[in-house]
Amino acid sequence: MNNDPLEHIAQTLKTHEVSPSESASFDEVMRRREKRKKGIIWWFTSAALLLMVGGIYFSPWSSEEFNTTADQKNTSNSGTSVQSEAYNSSILDKKSTDAEEEIITNSTPESQEPYLADNDPKKSNKKTLGAKLFNIFNKLRGKGGADITPTNNGITRQDSESSKFSRGLMTTVLVEEPALYGKRYLEPTKLGEPLEMRPSDYLDWDFSMGPFEPHLRKKPWYVELSAITGSNNQVQFNEEEPLSVLGTNYMAQYQASFLTSFNSSSAMWGIGLHYTQWVGNGEWREHTKERILQPDGTYKIINSTTTGRVNYSIDKVSIPLSYRGFARVSKFNLRYGVQLAPGFTSVTEGTYFDATSYTALQNSRMWSMDGKASVGPMIQVNKGLNVVIEPSVMYQSFVDQNSKIQGNWFGGLGVSMLYRLR
């Protein structure tokens, strides 16, 4: 007999053997291995599909209809465009009939449309696979493009009601300036770039995935309720662009998800539903050149600045596909997560804007895609309930009526409650 009872206990445990029951057999181990291999193939296929869909969604393209419109406008009054071919003469001629030194005017939606157009002639007739697919989506959802109506001169015009919603209080101040603007139209916006993460965001993450097992009832399940709010501020006009917008974008998101762990690691995958409210208030400013016909037959160049207010409201319903991981730093439990949420808009009204353009929104269902990455401390309240404070980076986007992706980055803070169901 061992003199040290604790040593005796340890030795007894060390040499202890237990025969596995019939359910734990060599054949079962081999069956699991096969399943694991299939699981890996399943995950890779899913990931490839997700990447492909994401790639299509975020790939930039131009709207064929809109570019055709811009081209037509440029050529419709070419006879009066003398000093600069880059000017949109139809607007300039219209404005030249107003007061010469200082005027107050109400701009119409038609007069502002060229500023929203992608005027790159190389892209005007180009349509990517993504654009074609989303046009199919638009047809499938029925209302897409229904409110875009051609005007008498063949110019596509957006619904004037939505434009009126937010474009009031516009003033035009004319300032004499002999210099010409070299670039009349806006560059295509750089929206729709794919989500990118820095190496520091994922270096310590555990991406190991276990086999896909359909026996979900045996897995631990969690329900997660979260709320998050974020903002994106543009505080200064961009002096280098003819049209620039400043303003604030706010978003609030409410989410419920079910999560489970497919293997023994603490990583979780889940699916859920979230509702997002996204609003923006801003002010736009536009520098334009006007030519005034003088009595001697020459033109006088007048620089004018036009300002106005824009605001919009977008509500969205999405299905977030979530990944959650856990790490421990010193004495703190950290949770990190990423998610991608395809969905659709339930409310779209007003005039959406970014730093260099604005677009009157058509009130219809539009496809949307959200992404979120977050990391924050996890605090255990009791055995089943954890609270997570989540500083997050989010990308909110939607496909507008011109099949153009509009999107914004947000920084925000959220709170999540993670409750273990079984």
């Binding site: 053997e17 596995p20 060599f26 181990v29 023994s264």
Partner: protein, 176 residues
């Protein structure tokens, strides 16, 4: 069949070698898994998961330790992961008081099942650290890394486990 032949056979996906590995070690490893898990069903699940990893990673075995030691390490890791997935074991590493149940047996007559029952009555944190240190021979540094706790916590958990077990032995007068 030697360890080398076993390993080489498993790398070749030789079913006979793989089956032999199962027959040779599954009983020992199941007992190991049972010390960390709550019941035999969960332990068997951990055992099979560990064997999947063992077969899949056999080519990474470098003979720097005995094959059994390497396999035991994998089983410990899988069991700890299962434990972690089931609950937050850090919360189990608490200062809370508890009492072991009474086992009506003499120390020198203690059966292994009774010892298992005794150890299972320990809080998860005490039990895990005791098993890792006293049975598996892990150092406190290794335990702290595995469980993601401080070395000091590992030491204190072991001391508390020892104290509880010692009290139980003294209570029964089995240390005489």
């Amino acid at each position: 069949m030697t360890d080398k032949e076993l390993v080489e056979g498993c790398i070749r996906e030789d079913r006979i070698a793989q089956k032999y590995l199962w027959d040779q070690y599954s009983s020992k490893l199941l007992a190991l898994c049972m010390r960390y898990t709550q019941n035999q069903e969960e332990a068997e699940d951990a055992l099979m998961e560990a064997y999947v990893k063992i077969y899949d990673n056999m080519k990474k075995f470098r003979f720097q330790s005995a094959l059994e030691t390497w396999m035991r390490r994998i089983c410990v890791n899988v069991s700890i992961n299962k434990l972690r997935a089931r609950k937050n074991i850090f919360n189990e590493l608490s200062e809370s008081e508890f009492e072991l149940g009474y086992l009506d047996s003499q120390y020198n007559q203690l059966q292994v099942n009774q010892i298992m029952e005794l150890v299972h009555q320990l809080p998860t944190g005490y039990k895990t650290v005791f098993n890792l240190f006293a049975v598996e021979g892990y150092s406190h540094k290794e335990i702290s890394k595995l469980l993601e706790i401080d070395e000091g916590t590992s030491r204190s958990q072991l001391a508390k486990a020892r104290k509880v077990l010692q009290e139980w032995v003294t209570k029964l007068g089995l240390d005489k």
